[in-house]
Symmetry: C2
Subunit: 222 residues, 2 copies
């Protein structure tokens, strides 16, 4: 790993906008793709161009976290991958659970992209007696009644909520009591959580509305 | 519908940041929830508080599109719903298709949230002969070979791509040739499209990385 990155003080990192963190994910995925294609280095303008951003945007985003790259060379792809994973905290393994093994839950349990990025789903929960005791992609489906027990036992840090909207808050409350650190909520409802638990809401209709807005207003969004 | 909204000139609307459009979706969903609970009016600070934003943020976001609300009353919920749907372009019906009837594709075909927000999935496509000719939630599964024909015939405007990463660009190219206006891409790959076609990429790992970043840095994201 490169040693050129200066660790910022924590007050700085608290000010990083969510959109910058989201773009780090995009940079990471593009760099991983480039490395698989055998690419060793890339400039900020080339990286930006691949993703539809300016070179200034790429440099500004990375500048939140230190100094990267070298004049005349650009970024070494594999080093920048390590740096971004370190920034995101995905240079370590995260243990994840999923609550609600319906259609979306099954799709996420079968999604292969999580593991390669450091997220390992180790348990899932449902209330349907027909599937409790089974496993999907090797991930056991437990009774929701065992949530707190298994979250503690397996030291699960992050939960994906894929239950119906009217059950999501109750599930979230149980996860908080069990000591979860972060929740990704796919249920179409706004959750209320203590501030020490991180929350990201995923609303699948939002992306469609964004497209509708841009088509209706004849704007190409990138 | 309220007549207090001033239609902005199109150059203004071109400058609306994506994050503002995303927040309009959040406001819309919260307002719809409030109306279902029988609420008639709400202030910007109350609406903001429910979603974790300041009242200034709510007012600034809406100010991109005109003047809403009245002093001492706030916003009339049902009027603001109509206004936001008009801004987003979801006051009309959009015809949608889905390409790739795997796990995620099935979950999206069965997702009930799209129709209520103005998006009607009318056709889906796959290459698997075992499911071509069947239907899921009343939505027919066609052979991918018939994509252009059916997109044109049914005047489909928006496509959801849920095929594997290495097939996504080819599917996108076919959709563009067929005359699609917008694409929501769930495949974990960056697509290259002509600028007149709107594109939103959905990367399910990004949300997990956002949570990891915030947990690793002990920041509560809201």
């Amino acid at each position: 790993m490169s040693s050129t990155r200066r660790k910022p003080e924590s007050p700085e990192r608290r000010d990083v906008p969510t959109v910058v963190v989201n773009r780090l994910s995009l940079y990471l995925r593009e760099l991983q793709h480039l490395v698989r294609e055998g690419r060793a280095t890339i400039s900020s303008s080339q990286l930006g161009k691949l993703l539809g951003f300016t070179d200034a945007q790429v440099r500004k985003d990375l500048a939140y976290f230190g100094h990267f790259g070298q004049p005349g060379i650009g970024y070494r792809c594999s080093e920048l991958i390590d740096e971004i994973r370190s920034i995101l905290g995905t240079d370590r393994q995260w243990t994840v659970t999923l609550v609600g093994v319906g259609n979306l839950g099954r799709a996420l349990l079968r999604y292969r992209g999580f593991t390669s990025q450091g997220f390992r789903i180790v348990a899932s929960f449902d209330v349907d007696a027909r599937i409790i005791g089974s496993s999907i992609e090797g991930i056991p489906v437990y009774s929701l009644a065992r949530l707190a027990e298994i979250v503690r036992q397996q030291r699960i840090q992050i939960a994906l909520i894929t239950v119906p909207a009217d059950e999501a808050q109750q599930v979230a409350d149980q996860l908080v009591i069990a000591g979860i650190s972060g929740i990704v909520n796919f249920a179409p409802v706004t959750l209320s959580l203590p501030t020490e638990v991180s929350l990201v809401g995923v609303d699948l209709t939002t992306e469609l509305e964004q497209i509708a807005f841009s088509v209706a207003n004849r704007i190409a969004t990138r």
